[in-house]
């Protein structure tokens, strides 16, 4: 395997982490909340598609549509039934929300296992075309789709936040929910939109990434961690920051095991997390506030 192939693999992992981080970012900007359940939405997106195609003989696009809608629905339920209620009761305390989101994560993980089985299923390709090769580097169709979707998703998110009314509302609500409420902005609707979008995004991301290594009900937790790390490493300074964080993590995930072997990428991730949380907790890109 050539070096270039490794770089491509790192880029693919990076895009995957970056997309998950973007889903985190949308909820964080809109609701000021780290939604760890995002990893499990992605798991549902991938696992539900594979299950419907393999066991129900469904068309792959129809299965994907069902799975992505399911992820978005789960995200909406998370906000409406759990996060909103818990935050209303416990105010600004972080621990109740954290425990609640852990319970949601665990419940979705168990639900996925119960509905779709506890085994790892192979991911399904949305489209089959010949692998694209540049020199001796080969990009599989799934890779091409994931990279393409990354560009589209980030560009759309950036444009949406910058140019649309809802996008600007999102930032207003996230910056100060209280002030936004006083101004009469539709706080609850904006938060729900943020959750729905992040659920959609996570679902699509999960099903696009599933062909790379398969997907099981347990994938959600490690995906949740990777996405969270990517977002923290990238910072919240710009919409593109999660992608930078994701690519950095992707490099760690691919090159550390290449040079040190075994499961060293787990140690690498832990090290990155400790270093960033200790020395640069706000991430690489920070929004500068003009005084």
């Amino acid at each position: 395997m050539g070096q270039l192939q490794l770089w491509l693999s790192a880029l693919e992992m990076g895009c995957f982490f970056g997309l998950l981080a973007l889903a985190y970012y949308l909820v964080l900007v809109g609701a000021g909340f780290f939604n760890f359940a995002i990893g499990t939405y992605a798991m549902v997106g991938g696992l539900c598609t594979s299950y419907l195609v393999l066991y129900e003989d469904m068309n792959v696009w129809a299965a994907a549509a069902v799975a992505v809608l399911a992820s978005a629905a789960l995200a909406a339920v998370t906000e409406l039934a759990v996060v909103r209620q818990v935050q209303r009761r416990s105010g600004r305390g972080e621990l109740p929300a954290l425990v609640a989101v852990a319970a949601v994560l665990f419940a979705i993980q168990q639900l996925g296992g119960y509905l779709f089985g506890y085994t790892t299923l192979p991911g399904q390709n949305l489209a089959t075309f010949d692998p694209v090769s540049i020199g001796d580097t080969v990009a599989q169709p799934s890779t091409v789709l994931l990279l393409g979707f990354t560009v589209v998703a980030f560009a759309a998110a950036a444009a949406w936040i910058r140019y649309t009314r809802t996008g600007r509302l999102l930032r207003a609500v996230g910056d100060s929910t209280h002030a936004a409420g006083l101004l009469g902005l539709p706080v609850n609707r904006v938060r729900l939109i943020a959750f729905l979008l992040s659920g959609l995004l996570a679902g699509i991301t999960g099903l696009l990434f599933a062909p790379k290594a398969g997907v099981s009900s347990l994938s959600g937790l490690s995906w949740a961690l990777s996405g969270f790390l990517a977002m923290v490493v990238g910072g919240t300074g710009s919409v593109w920051a999660p992608l930078a964080g994701g690519v950095l993590l992707g490099l760690v995930e691919v090159f550390v095991p290449y040079y040190f072997g075994g499961q060293s990428h787990v140690y690498g991730l832990l090290l990155v997390a400790l270093l960033f949380f200790a020395f640069k907790p706000s991430g690489l890109f920070v929004r500068r506030i003009r005084a």
């Binding site: 760890f36 954290l98 425990v99 991730l269 997390a273």
Partner: protein, 317 residues
């Protein structure tokens, strides 16, 4: 009115229930396994009680701490000729030391950041157990462990079951006393108003580290117990599932006293392991139940029982 020892009501209730459980178990091997599993879950949940419910910081590295306790038993049994009881001293001490180191590395983190790093630490610990094949036996783990031996007396399996129940009750009682002691009051105040406590001259970071160390040591006792009664330990023995369940157990039972964690452990094991009808979905029911409890009944079972007792008794207890 005669002055009674604080926490004695909980202890009496706990001991009565424990005695009933032990009578129910009898010589049934499967039920004995259920009880030792419950005791392990309860000890991990009790370990999390001090830092999580008293100090208010959710560390999720408890799979690693229980693993340290388990591997202490495994290593002492297979690699040395020392008395096996020493494992329950070495394991908790090492676990406490690791908890202090991890606590130092994460001392500025809280909430989601702390949860993420400690989860990663748990994963890295599992990976280390697989990688360090020479020491830990790799993914196969350590098996065929020695039996406990106190100067020639080898306790039977049933006696070990009784012993584990006694340990759980003892630790729950001590934690209940600790919760009400001046130290416990300071730690609980620290959760709600860290700046006020710091301003009053208490070193909050040090208190946090002590809380983490106590918790890790208790979880290591549980890990050692499970390893001993299972007869082997592998990197997959103490999974992240266990950690998640341990977070939820105090919520199910009631987070006001440590006994809630024990009650939660009993309910969790009953639902996940001893319910043949819903065997595959027991964990799912548990998870959904936790969400319902979280939203509708944040006081858990013991909280409601206490309210009921107050209603019946007609006065505040």
């Amino acid at each position: 009115m005669k002055q009674r020892v604080p926490g004695s009501v909980g202890l009496i209730c706990g001991v009565v229930v424990a005695a009933l459980i032990l009578l129910w178990v009898g010589a049934d091997g499967y039920r004995q396994t259920l009880v030792t599993t419950t005791a392990t879950y309860a000890l991990v949940a009790l370990g999390m009680y001090v830092p999580y419910l008293m100090a208010g910081s959710l560390s999720m590295a408890y799979g690693a701490y229980a693993g340290i306790g388990g591997y202490a038993v495994g290593l002492l049994s297979t690699r040395t000729g020392l008395p096996l009881v020493l494992a329950w001293i070495a394991g908790p001490v090492v676990a406490a030391a690791v908890a202090v180191l991890l606590g130092l590395a994460t001392r500025r983190l809280s909430g989601f950041f702390l949860a993420a790093v400690t989860l990663l630490f748990g994963m890295a610990f599992t990976a280390l157990l697989v990688d360090a094949e020479g020491l830990s036996g790799g993914s196969g783990g350590l098996g065929s462990l020695r039996k406990l031996n106190f100067f020639g007396w080898e306790p039977s399996h049933y006696q070990v079951v009784i012993g584990s129940v006694v340990v759980v009750c003892g630790i729950a009682f001590l934690l209940d006393r600790l919760r009400m002691s001046p130290w416990g009051v300071v730690v609980r105040t620290m959760r709600d108003a860290p700046r006020a406590v710091e301003a009053a001259g208490v070193r909050v970071p040090v208190m946090n580290l002590v809380a983490l160390a106590i918790g890790a040591a208790i979880a290591a006792v549980g890990g050692g117990l499970f390893t001993y009664s299972a007869g082997s330990v592998t990197p997959d023995t103490f999974t992240l599932n266990l950690v998640f369940l341990a977070i939820f157990m105090p919520l199910i039972g009631g987070s006001a006293t440590p006994w809630g964690a024990v009650l939660g452990a009993v309910i969790a094991v009953e639902l996940t392991l001893n319910f043949p009808v819903i065997e595959t979905s027991g964990t799912l029911i548990l998870a959904l139940g936790v969400l319902v409890i979280l939203l509708l009944a944040p006081q858990g079972v013991i909280g409601y029982a206490a309210r009921l007792a107050r209603l019946v008794g007609g006065r505040r207890g």
